[in-house]
């Protein structure tokens, strides 16, 4: 290490890498942010702006998300116009069979210290007057917030630059350089090398490719999601609404839904944006690295939205696109030192929560590098937490499902 502060290279300029760079540059750590493409041009440019606890498993995952919300709330003023607001979010129920699971969910979250509420039909329809009349109830989480993900990444990068961070877009990393067994920087495809004392790999779904040559395996697999953007037009309320079945889809539980909804893991996500358009989601598929949008999935998303918002039939679709969530087998990100390679850190695998968990991830990585005590135990996020069976299964997916 040189002097007081290690030189850091962050690989991957998505929201995770940008948040880490923001935290490090704020602490005066010399940091360079590298990406093979434009800044924030990967998964962070193909997502919604959810910053949620409502869809997290009660316990550690919920606590992590809640901490991230509080950090973001504190950062928001400094970051300028990122269209941040905190309207709370709702999970609408599709049928009576979801009422009991939803009540249980609320009870579990409340035991975990989060202020969730179960709303009966009357309160649900007061809060969301455009919802289909047969929606029997909803779950409400008051701290959930939203932002414009493109503006968020841009603001994190801009603030980092102001504090002296360097950025290297369009600079593909060929390999992580090592010296005497420890990370020594990155070698770029153009042949040059960026020397560093610490290398942070925050490359989302592309992380395993960078780690594999060092003999480090992390089970991060792309899980494709589609989104639909409407024209600016009629709106259906200014709060974020998802369906309770989103949790079932996310965690792979049984649902009683139409075949295409089940096949593509479709669940309603309704996100009104400040620009006046709204975003509709969602879908979940293991389909490799192919981001070619599938019109059948887009149609299934629209049909699912109409089940909850019949009046949306008069709205017009502007476009649809697909992105790749970095999925892990236990739905928690991988954040921590690589035990086998000193100086190498991983911060990836946030599935669909990268926007929401970026702030806490930045904080945790900053604490690790500056040898401060993190606000949460980090064992659940450890790089080496996956047993050989899980790694083997991830390897099988690599070959057959991707």
């Amino acid at each position: 290490m040189t002097g007081q502060s290690p030189r850091v290279v962050v690989v991957g300029a998505g929201v995770i890498g940008a948040a880490i760079t923001f935290v490090l540059s704020r602490a005066g750590v010399p940091v360079t942010l590298v990406d093979r493409g434009p800044l924030g041009g990967g998964t962070s440019s193909r997502c919604d702006g959810n910053v949620l606890v409502i869809d997290k498993d009660p316990g550690y995952q919920g606590a992590l998300a809640h901490l991230s919300q509080e950090l973001l709330h504190a950062w928001a003023g400094e970051l300028g116009e990122i269209e941040y607001r905190r309207p709370g979010s709702y999970l609408a129920l599709a049928g009576d069979d979801e009422v009991e699971p939803a009540r249980t969910w609320v009870a579990d979250q409340r035991r975990g210290g989060l202020d969730f509420q179960y709303l009966e039909a009357a309160a649900t329809h007061r809060a969301m007057p455009d919802l289909a009349a047969d929606v029997p109830g909803s779950v409400y989480s008051p701290t959930d917030s939203t932002l414009n993900p493109l503006a968020y990444v841009a603001a994190l990068v801009a603030k980092s630059r102001q504090r002296g961070a360097a950025t290297r877009p369009h600079s593909p990393v060929a390999a992580i350089a090592t010296s005497g067994g420890r990370a020594a920087g990155v070698q770029l495809e153009d042949g040059s090398t960026l020397a560093a004392d610490v290398v942070v790999v925050a490359a989302g779904v592309w992380t395993p490719d960078l780690l594999e040559p060092l003999g480090v395996t992390v089970p991060i697999v792309p899980r494709r999601g589609h989104l639909v953007v409407t024209t600016k037009g009629p709106r259906f309320g200014d709060v974020k609404v998802m369906e309770f079945g989103y949790l079932m889809a996310k965690f792979g539980r049984e649902r009683t839904v139409p075949a295409d909804v089940d096949r593509y893991g479709v669940a309603l996500v309704y996100e009104p944006t400040r620009a006046g358009n709204f975003i509709l989601g969602s879908s979940r598929e293991f389909a490799g690295f192919d981001t070619t949008p599938n019109p059948d999935v887009l149609r299934a998303i629209v049909r699912r939205a109409l089940r909850f918002y019949p009046a949306m039939a008069e709205a017009s679709v502007l476009r649809g696109f697909a992105g790749l969530r970095p999925w892990t087998p236990d739905h928690l990100p991988v954040v921590g030192w690589v035990p086998a390679v000193p100086g190498l850190l991983v911060a990836a695998g946030h599935e669909g929560d990268g926007i929401g968990l970026a702030a806490v991830t930045g904080q945790l990585v900053g604490d690790l590098i500056r040898q401060e005590r993190p606000p949460l135990p980090m064992e659940p996020l450890a790089v080496d937490r996956f047993g050989p069976d899980v790694l083997q299964e991830a390897g099988v997916w690599d070959k057959t499902r991707i």
Binding site: R85, R86, P87, G88, P142, T231, K232, G233, P234, R235, D238, V239, P272, R274, A275, G276, E314, A315, S316, L318
Partner: protein, 95 residues
Amino acid sequence: MSAETVRFWLDGAERRGPAGVPVGFVLYAQGERILGWNEATGAPRGLYCGIGHCFECRLTIDGVRDQRACLVPLAAEMQLTRQAPPPALTFQEVP
């Protein structure tokens, strides 16, 4: 232009214009610069790109929302309606 002049309606008011010319151009030439309002800000919007790319000239035409005025040729008895901006966005925090 030697196009046939036909009757059409703008926000319920009777008008006449050349059939076959995209309605966005017809209205521009008749001095109607405002074709709608930005749904988030309420700011007026009009013909901009003229080739269907910018989506700023959207009108309700014969009852169908979000038709690009620069692409739809004027036809006799067409009903053109400017889309009122939705109620102002609150974007307030829920207490």
